[in-house]
């Protein structure tokens, strides 16, 4: 008991008063969570803008895009982008979206804000680390953006930065001199921020749970953030040295990823002895777990939110958590499925294919549990619940195509086609963002003290839901027809007949992108003009709904919360006439 109060005292710090310590270099996990959210929001609109530019170019390559020549006179003379500028924008789109949106929004932003509150803590375990992890990430973002403004533009080697294209320097093409250096440095800095954050999440979950908050009583979202932080710690710990080695190859004359005898721009490269596949192994050892870093928090968020609106418990809570852990564990055994055709030993293809296919089992169980949880419910249709239902649908669509790509024999045909683009956009990007949208509509009242506009939220949902299918479903057909990805134009005889499909996708992408401005408007307008939110507007059970909206600096106004129930007590008869029992309510939930 004495120890407990001492450790509480160690984490207490008084509310800051100056503007800088309150809003900029804040130690408060809630402010840091909002900062991550803001950075992800800025990044997602930049990333989406880049995809618009790429899509317009793919549909109508000769069309001058207004103002594009202002961004880069060399890359887009008279607004018509060059093939290399297309690749630059594509690289930046992938990098920004994967690192600064899909890693930041569902995990770092919501996790920072809600993990401590959901487990009844006053802050993260290491508030200073927490502040450092955000500002490190911010520096990484600035370094990445700087690549737009260097003379030869951003790198053209894709978000995977395959060596030796990414390693040999400017002889390999435009954007591969300073732009690629900035890319490597930015990602290395990003890794440091993510490692600090992951450590902090793990320590917070293990050490700072309040009285009664056993692991079994943790909300699914907290479970997902915890599992993700373990994955994150191990994944970024590999990408960090990989990026350092890449930058060393580029600036210090080492040859980690560059073999001898390469001739670029008619010059023999002064390297020898490196391995091209070493980069691919290191990158994908990070890269595949990264997919789960993006999607697991959204699975957790949706599993947390859905029962609030179905008014019944999530089916199989232990199985759901077990599946998350299984996915996290298996995610480290499958990286080679990105490399079936890379020239690695063909026997290892089977070795990587089997765990990849096995991962579909916990993923299928999670999906079935979510679908079956909707059965017999009294659904309350809100923007948040619609995005949860939409999540299930797009997660099915994205997961199904995994069956194809996990098989080396089929991968021979579908590898590097638009089928792959469709697969990872559905399962990693769209599904993850649907979780973020659900989380935003659900938690906005808690974060700001105001409700979002439901009518606008629903319009946003319908346009986005139909829109993403119009964009990404046809990409499967393109892939089946052998349409290669990462092409800035389609000049091959067999690809020319597919250009009308690309035009359709472009129109869909422009419209779906435009619908995101409804969301942005709703976010800003509701922040200032939305109706005042009560403490628990959705009638939810978890701890974030046992405090004011927004919570005070120390989250619970000096109270030490005691937890008596799990987060899943919906559809029960409470003594005060509600159909749910709060986690903090001493009332014992009836055995179900």
């Amino acid at each position: 008991m004495h120890e407990t109060s001492a450790s509480h005292a160690a984490h207490q710090h008084s509310a800051p008063t100056s503007f800088i310590r309150k809003h900029v270099f804040s130690l408060d996990h809630k402010v840091i969570g909002k900062q991550y959210y803001g950075l992800a929001l800025l990044a997602v609109f930049i990333g989406m803008g880049l995809s618009w530019l790429m899509r317009i170019h793919l549909g109508w390559p000769a069309w001058p895009i207004p103002l594009l020549d202002k961004l880069s006179a060399v890359g887009a003379p008279q607004g018509v982008m060059t093939p290399e500028y297309y690749l630059s924008l594509m690289t930046m789109h992938g990098t920004i979206m994967v690192f600064f949106v899909l890693t930041n929004a569902p995990f770092a932003a919501f996790g920072n804000y809600f993990l401590p509150i959901q487990i009844g803590a006053e802050d993260m375990a290491f508030p200073r680390f927490n502040m450092m992890s955000f500002w490190t990430t911010f520096v990484a973002f600035c370094v990445m953006m700087a690549a737009f403004f260097v003379s030869d533009g951003p790198p053209i080697s894709g978000w995977t930065a395959y060596a030796p294209l990414s390693a040999v320097g400017g002889d390999a093409g435009p954007g591969l001199a300073m732009g690629q250096n900035l890319w490597g440095i930015s990602i290395a800095i990003f890794c440091i921020g993510s490692l600090l954050g992951a450590l902090n999440f793990i320590a917070t979950t293990l050490d700072l749970r309040t009285k009664g908050m056993s692991l079994a009583r943790m909300p699914y979202s907290s479970w997902a953030w915890f599992v993700t932080s373990v994955i994150s710690l191990l994944a970024f710990a590999v990408l960090l040295p990989a990026c350092i080695l890449l930058v060393l190859d580029r600036v210090a004359g080492t040859s980690f990823f560059i073999p001898g005898g390469l001739i670029l721009s008619d010059k023999m490269q002064p390297h020898s002895g490196g391995s091209v596949l070493l980069w691919q192994h290191l990158f994908w050892f990070f890269g595949h777990p990264e997919v789960y870093i993006a999607i697991l928090p959204s699975i957790g968020i949706v599993s947390h939110i859905l029962p609030v609106f179905t008014r019944k418990p999530l089916l199989g809570p232990r199985a759901a958590v077990g599946c998350m852990i299984a996915i996290g564990f298996l995610s480290y055994m499958v990286w080679g499925h990105h490399m079936f055709l890379s020239g690695m030993n063909p026997f290892s293809a089977t070795l990587f294919s089997v765990p990849t296919l096995i991962i579909t089992i916990p993923a299928t169980i999670l999906t079935l549990l979510l679908i079956a949880s909707v059965y017999g419910a009294k659904l309350r249709f809100t923007s948040a619940s619609l995005f949860c239902l939409g999540f299930i649908s797009v997660f099915i669509s994205g997961g199904i195509s995994g069956f194809f790509l996990a098989q080396p024999s089929i991968d021979i045909y579908l590898h590097a086609t638009y089928f792959v683009v469709a697969h990872f956009h559905f399962v990693m990007a769209v599904a993850s963002l649907f979780g973020v949208f659900a989380g935003t509509y659900f938690w906005f009242p808690k974060m700001t003290g105001r409700m979002m506009n439901e009518a606008l939220g629903k319009w946003h949902f319908w346009l986005t839901f139909i829109g993403v299918y119009a964009i990404f479903m046809p990409m499967h057909y393109l892939g089946l027809a052998g349409n290669v990805r990462r092409y800035s134009a389609f000049v091959d005889d067999y690809l020319i007949p597919l250009i009308p499909v690309h035009k359709f996708i472009t129109v869909a992408a422009l419209l779906t992108g435009a619908a995101q401005f409804i969301f942005l408007f709703n976010l800003i307008w509701s922040r200032f003009k939305g109706p005042i939110a009560s403490e628990n507007p959705w009638e939810a059970t978890s701890l974030e709904w046992s405090t004011t909206s927004p919570p005070p600096f120390d989250n619970f106004g000096g109270k030490h919360m005691v937890v008596y129930n799990g987060p899943n007590e919906y559809g029960v008869q409470s003594s005060d006439g509600h159909d749910y029992i709060m986690q903090t309510s001493p009332e014992k939930a009836p055995a179900s």
């Binding site: 089916l315 017999g376 009294k378 099915i396 098989q407 839901f465 057909y477 027809a481 000049v491 091959d492």
Partner: protein
């Protein structure tokens, strides 16, 4: 709202599936001996996962439709049987699918990547570079000349870095920009790159393999139909990636011999 969701999900599902079923956009013809197994594997997977897709989406739509019933007397129901049968069903059904796909699919993969090339294969050396493919035939002596990267000189057409002055085997090597092969004869390619990563993708042959700088990678196939088809690069290799292509011309044996004699004469 729930009924609208159910209708939208159902329409999206049916429209999506329809285009797959109608083969509106589909794989091109297959002209290889190993392709049918790959196509078969893909079609099996399409059927299995297509049913899962249909089932998952339609069930979601149905449950959402039912859950939107506003009758206040309606009681909340849990899924019959609870979670355990679902978990068991997922493990068994998906487990069987995983095992089947692995066993059957390994054969298709093995035929392309594990089986050794036939003894009588015609050996052709392939080099990829930004942004072209070059193909080399051994010539009448049946021997390839050695490759010397320092002798590579694209301006003079010495793409492979041959040294005919000192290397007898290199003198009769035939270097061309198109892959010409006789029909129904096993072909062995050795892939190597001059600069960065590239890939060798021939959709009609169901063949795709990366070129990896520093590695020499064998690929073998047998074409079963004559004709002219495209070879494209699928590994991001720089600004001209989209335009990096070549043709494969499959000829009858006599046509091929005539073509080869013509090349050797030059």
């Amino acid at each position: 709202m729930g009924k609208l969701f159910a209708v939208v999900v159902t329409v999206i599902t049916i429209v999506s599936v329809a285009f797959f079923v109608m083969h509106t956009w589909w794989m091109p013809i297959d002209i290889s001996t190993t392709g049918p197994a790959i196509d078969h594997q893909l079609e099996e997977t399409m059927t299995g996962s297509g049913l899962l897709f249909l089932g998952g989406q339609l069930l979601l739509g149905l449950f959402v439709w039912q859950s939107s019933n506003k009758n206040p007397a309606r009681k909340i129901k849990t899924f019959p049987g609870g979670a355990n049968p679902l978990v068991a069903a997922a493990i068994i059904l998906v487990g069987i699918e995983v095992l089947t796909l692995t066993f059957v699919g390994s054969k298709a993969w093995g035929a392309v990547n594990l089986a050794p090339p036939a003894e009588n294969s015609l050996h052709i050396d392939v080099q990829a570079e930004q942004f072209a493919f070059y193909f080399r035939y051994a010539g009448p002596d049946g021997q390839f000349g050695g490759i010397h990267p320092d002798k590579i000189d694209d301006g003079n057409g010495n793409y492979f870095g041959l040294d005919p002055a000192n290397d007898v085997a290199a003198r009769d090597d035939v270097v061309v920009g198109s892959l010409v092969v006789p029909v129904n004869r096993p072909i062995l390619l050795t892939l190597h790159s001059k600069d960065v990563g590239h890939s060798f993708y021939v959709p009609v042959l169901r063949i795709q393999q990366d070129f990896v700088p520093g590695l020499l990678i064998p690929v073998h196939f047998t074409a079963t139909q004559t004709g002219k088809f495209e070879i494209v690069c699928t590994q991001l290799c720089g600004l001209g990636h989209y335009n990096m292509k070549a043709y494969i011309e499959v000829m009858s044996e006599p046509d091929y011999e005539t073509w080869l004699k013509g090349q050797e004469g030059q």
